[in-house]
Amino acid sequence: MADDKSVGTEAEIKAEIKEEKGRIGSGLKQGIEAVKGLYDSYAVTAKHLFRKPITEQYPEEKRKLPARSRARIILTRDPDGQERCVACYLCSGVCPVSCISMQSAEREDGRRYARWFRINFSRCIFCGLCEEACPTLAIQLTPDFEICRRDLLELVYEKEDLLTDSGGKNETYDFYRHAGVSVKGDKGEHIGERPPVNVKTNLP
């Protein structure tokens, strides 16, 4: 028995044959699976050939954008038609690309306004942080995104370019009914103001 190692026992040979058969079987199974996979994928793409394309042909077909989509920035007016902006510099301060600049001034009745107000849309990233920061709802973003120009300087919008006649997203809100000018009425008479607390009743 010189070659007993290479031949092995009968049981070992049987196990080997079985394993070999299994390997061929699994190979065949894999092959069938591959063909089925190919067939399925070709069928899927062929089916899509006869579907209606979902392309929107942009300049001809314009999708109506949601009111909250963020693009060109406007300055709105309050219900009385006065500028809402009080030139508080909050938008300019929060702007991550520093594209908003202004000069504040004060009217004779003590109401603040922007002497000039400038947004450089070539820098604006339309993040909407200015809108979030604005205490008077003056600065708002609109869905109008078609503002590209050949000359970069044409993208610098001055106050008169930014101002609109509407109240934007909230027509009724008026900041000056709540705060911002010297007190007109008595304590507790302003909108949203609770009557003053009588401190003496708080005593134990």
Partner: protein, 329 residues
């Protein structure tokens, strides 16, 4: 008489070149449109009615582009390589039979540029040539992306060249000739695809690898290698690579038509029209495949070529040869 022959030859060459370049240009448009529709998009539709003039616009654009040569490129080879790829594909057309000989005023004009008796070998020799164009262009670009693309391409095309060649041996055995006209004549009764479906599949898969199409587009692999072997090319030289690829698709389609689909044989229509229609089947299938299958990994590509296609092709030769010997006694 001598002049007449030359004139006929020139007319034939001009006609074939015009048809093939036109087909290749419009194949690019067809690919973009069809691929778009397969991906439920529209594809190009701005230039002309439904985008019909797109190839002309593309051609104008590519002609007006700057012809850039990288600073450390091997200039001679760099300039030369795209021509090798394109001319290799075009020269195969010389041996493709378009139809039965025409008879004009008593002169018999064969509808083939040159009826080589070793046409099959000529086809293999030229289809190997495009590897040189690609690998040399990649090497001469002196860029890592090009080089990786070129090496991948060389390895891939050498591997698949083998099964491409071996898959046609049964066809040559059945036709009893290496002459393409005689191979087509042998299919007068039935196309060889019915007798040799395995050889047809192997040839089709290898042809996709030869044409560097998905799922075998590793030499180009846009998202791995930018542009692969043609990364550094621009302008007309890039266009030559690009058009060469599409001409190659048309040529491979014509070869499939000649070897497996019965060439010019077909009812009603004239021979060249049948050949053209049959030759368009493979490019359209390649476009469909491009929309369907993802790219193979490099090791999968090699494994598939050497461990599956090559043994199956050899087995096919053995079985075909055995059956032919048995039948012919």
């Amino acid at each position: 008489m001598w002049l007449f022959g030359l004139l006929v030859l020139l007319i034939k060459i001009a006609a074939i070149l015009a048809v093939v370049f036109g087909t290749a240009a419009y194949l690019i448009l067809l690919e973009r449109k069809l691929l778009g529709r397969l991906q439920i998009r529209l594809g190009p539709n701005r230039v002309g009615f439904g985008g019909i003039l797109q190839p002309i616009a593309d051609g104008m654009k590519v002609l007006l582009k700057e012809d850039l040569i990288p600073a450390h490129a091997d200039r001679t080879i760099f300039k030369f390589a795209p021509a090798v790829v394109a001319s290799g594909a075009l020269l195969i057309l010389a041996v493709i039979p378009l139809g039965r000989p025409l008879t004009v005023r008593g002169h018999e004009i064969p509808l083939i540029i040159t009826d080589l008796n070793v046409g099959l070998l000529y086809v293999f020799a030229l289809s190997s040539m495009s590897v040189y164009g690609m690998a040399l262009g990649a090497w001469a670009s002196n860029s890592k992306y090009s080089l990786i693309g070129g090496i991948r391409g060389a390895a891939q095309m050498i591997s698949y060249e083998l099964s491409l060649g071996l898959s046609l041996v049964p066809v040559a055995l059945m036709a009893g000739s290496l002459n393409l006209t005689e191979i087509v004549e042998a299919q007068a009764d039935y196309p060889f695809i019915l007798a040799q479906p395995v050889a047809f599949l192997i040839f089709l898969i290898s042809a996709m690898a030869e044409a560097k199409r998905l799922p075998f587009d590793l030499p180009e692999a846009e998202n791995e290698l930018i542009g692969g072997f043609h990364t550094e090319y621009s302008g007309m030289r890039f266009a030559l690579f690009f058009v060469g690829e599409y001409v190659n698709m048309v040529v491979l389609g014509a070869l499939v038509a000649v070897f497996f689909l019965g060439g010019w044989h077909g009812p009603w229509l004239p021979g060249p029209v049948w050949l053209f229609l049959k030759a368009m089947i493979v490019p359209i299938f390649m476009i469909w495949t491009r929309a369907t299958l993802p790219r193979l990994r490099y090791d999968q590509l090699m494994q598939f070529g050497w461990k599956i296609l090559l043994p199956v092709a050899l087995l096919n030769i053995l079985i075909t040869g055995g059956i032919l010997v048995w039948i012919n006694g």
